[in-house]
Each structure stands twice: as structure tokens, then as C-alpha cells.
Symmetry: D2
Subunit: 124 residues, 4 copies
């Protein structure tokens, strides 16, 4: 089956690049929020998040940074806490034909909300 032809011929290349990156960003947030974490395990979790999301269609690269300041803010008596959306600073890079897009999540103080948006999109 030609999946692209069968299921994606109704949207443009730009739209597809946005679509695939947005799915993966929603996935990343809701898969990993809640994971036990502290400063010692921050890196192995960042790497596992990056590697697993890179498997999804059209994902070129994923850069996950868990914010240390937010992590420390929510620290408990037991020297670890649970990953929250507020700690996430992530860029997901997609590529579909000649279009590359960067989907971003970052915590916006003014909204008290980890906002997902299209940080950049361009055609070669």
C-alpha cells in the first residue's frame, strides 16, 4: 500500500510536516509526564524520550531538555519528583520532502502553561 497516496494526498507537504511533529509532541508529553525523576536520572530520561520519539514517521530529530529549575522547585522529601509538562523544553524536527518544521514545547509563565507551537517551518 502507498500510505502517502492513500491517506495523505489531501494535505500539503507543509501540513504533513506539521501534522507528524504535532502528533509526536502530544505523544511525548502524555507518555512521559509522571515518570519519577531527579537530577541524576534527568539525562537517561532525556535520551530515552528522544530515541523513542525519533521512531515515529517523519521525525528527523528530537531535542529534550528537562528544566532543572522547575525540577528542583517540585522536589520532595524523597529526593525525586514526577516529571510534569512545566519541566519540558523540547524541539521536534520533522522533514517531509523539501519541508522542515520545528515543533516546540516550552513553559510560558504568563499563561502558566506549557505551550506547543510551530517554532519554525521552511522549504529548501
Amino acid at each position: 500500500m502507498d500510505v502517502d497516496k492513500e491517506y495523505f494526498s489531501n494535505i500539503s507537504t507543509r501540513e504533513r510536516a506539521i501534522f507528524e511533529g504535532a502528533i509526536s509532541m502530544g505523544a511525548l508529553f502524555h507518555q512521559f509526564v509522571g515518570t519519577p525523576i531527579n537530577k541524576d536520572t534527568k539525562e537517561s530520561l532525556e535520551r530515552a524520550m528522544e530515541e523513542s520519539l525519533k521512531l515515529q514517521p517523519a521525525i528527523e530529530d528530537v531535542k529534550v531538555k528537562i528544566r532543572f529549575d522547575k525540577l528542583e522547585e517540585s522536589m520532595t522529601e524523597f529526593d525525586y519528583t514526577s516529571l510534569t509538562g512545566d519541566m519540558l523544553d523540547v524541539k521536534i524536527f520533522t522533514k517531509v520532502d523539501n519541508v522542515t518544521a520545528v515543533i516546540r514545547i516550552e513553559f510560558i509563565e504568563e499563561l502558566n502553561y506549557p505551550l506547543m507551537y510551530v517554532e519554525n517551518i521552511e522549504e529548501d
Copy 2:
């Protein structure tokens, strides 16, 4: 802050409708896969999935159908199983200005994969 102006002026209305629906579809999958389920709790889970996802930006409606056949296929000795992506048949309806989009997930036998795609998108 004018969030739309600040963060979304670089993409079209169509692209925004696709973006928001795709995030919510990725979210739905990765939030709820793994939930204990059987035929008696199918409906309350479908409703909770719909209601929670409808809270996200630009989501007009969500229709979740958990496939009974797939549910029965994976049934265990303990009369329940875990929700998997293969059981999901979901439509997420987004509306941004005059554009409405339907994001769909359904299991495609030929791919052995629960595919997410844009089922429909139109301008009023």
C-alpha cells in the same frame, strides 16, 4: 498576551486546525493506552477520553470508539485487558476560524498499525 498573534501567526488557519487536532490525537493515544478495560467499562472510558481531550485548544468534539472485536481478541484469564492502540477508532474535530478538520486514528490491517491521518478538512 495574544497567544495567536505571538505564537501562531507563522502558520495558516488550515495548518493550525491540523496542528491542534494532531497534538490531541497523540495525547489521547499515549495518555490512555495501558488502561485496564473490559466490555463493562468500555463506555465510561470512552466518555472520559472524549471529555478530557475536548478541553484542549481548538477541539470542537471527540468521538471515541473502542473496538469490541480487538478488545475480545486480547482478553485474558482475569476478564479484563489493557487498552492498546489497535483498539482505537477515534475522530477528533477541530475548528479554527472558518476551517474544520477531522483527525482520525484507525487500525489498518495491512500495515499492522493504528494510523493517524487527516480524514477531512474544509473551509466554510
Copy 3:
């Protein structure tokens, strides 16, 4: 197969009642943390959490209360937030033969931590 004989003859009835309730409490937390929620969807999520966890072995009943004060504290510009462990006040009731146990999670300010513990255990 006699599962109890095969896999659980090395622990006491009290221990089994604690074991099954603890699994379900860990499950509940990590399955549902991250779910979009506001005051309008609080109830349908509480019910779905209760119904799904009641399917697991030895679980007699589950009472989920999502703390409204904690929910409001973390409210965002978009009129919803993500479920966190701090919002959870849950009792899971298990019964194994003549033993009943209550496993509880509640947020303890002094620890800044949602503590899970055995609130009660008794033999008939």
C-alpha cells in the same frame, strides 16, 4: 492453572491483600497523571479511574477524589490543566479471603509528596 497456588503460596493472605492494592495504586497514578482536566470533567475522570482499576485482581472498590483546591491552584489560561499526583485522594479497597485492606494516596504538605500507604488492614 491454579494461579494462587502456583504463584502466591509464598506470601500470606495479608501480604497478598497489600500486594494487589499497591499494584493498583501505582497503576492508577502512572496511568492517569497528565490527563487534561478541569472542574467540568473531574467527575467523569474520577468514575473512569474507579471503574478501570476495579477490574484488577482482588480489588473490591476504588474511591477517587480529585482535590478541587489543588486543581484550581494549577489552572492555566486555557481553562484546564493536567492531572498531577498532588491532586489525588484515593482509597483502594482489596479483599483476599478474610482480609480486607485499604491502600491510600494523599498529598502530605510536610513532605511535598503524594504518599501511598496502608490506611487500614483487618481480618474478619
Copy 4:
């Protein structure tokens, strides 16, 4: 606050060792099921699962093995799949005072179910 005295004086040392391990096993399953995975990312996910769960109270060690055969069985056209409970072969080692326990999950064909049980428990 003396947490042990305040919240755990009603259960024995053995019971506490079982309790903490069972919570972490329920947590592990419901946190990570659904994660995108293939043979190339198997190891980084195993390590991240181990490291994050080791942070929880009384957990001495965690050994995660994602079953390659089950992983391959569910492979899709897109060269990755979602982690399921059937793929998990995990041992969680807890230690409370002089008691050590091993909580295990493994898929049991006859039950079509990934069973969690106490594999071993002993006092020094």
C-alpha cells in the same frame, strides 16, 4: 516527620517490602506501556525505566528486559511498535531493614496475561 512511624507502623517489615515493590511495578507498567520502541531503542528504554523506578522508596535495584520475541511479533510497517505489558520481563528488588523481596512481572502464555507476583522474599 518520621514517615515510617507515622504511616507504616501498622504493617510488618515483610509487608512493607512487598508494598513498595508492588507500587513500583504497577508504576512501571502504566508509565511506560505505549512508548514507541524497536530493537535499536530497546536498551535506552530499559535503562531509563530502571533508573527512574530506582528512585522510589525502598527500591534497591530494577532489572528490565523487554522481550525481543514479543517485540518482533507486534512489529509494524513503520519499523517500530508500542511497548505492551506482554513484552515486559522485570524484577524489582526491595530492601526494608533485614527483608529483601523480588517483585516480578512476566507474561504467562496460559493466562494470556503479564502476571505480577512476589518471586522471592527473605530475611537476613
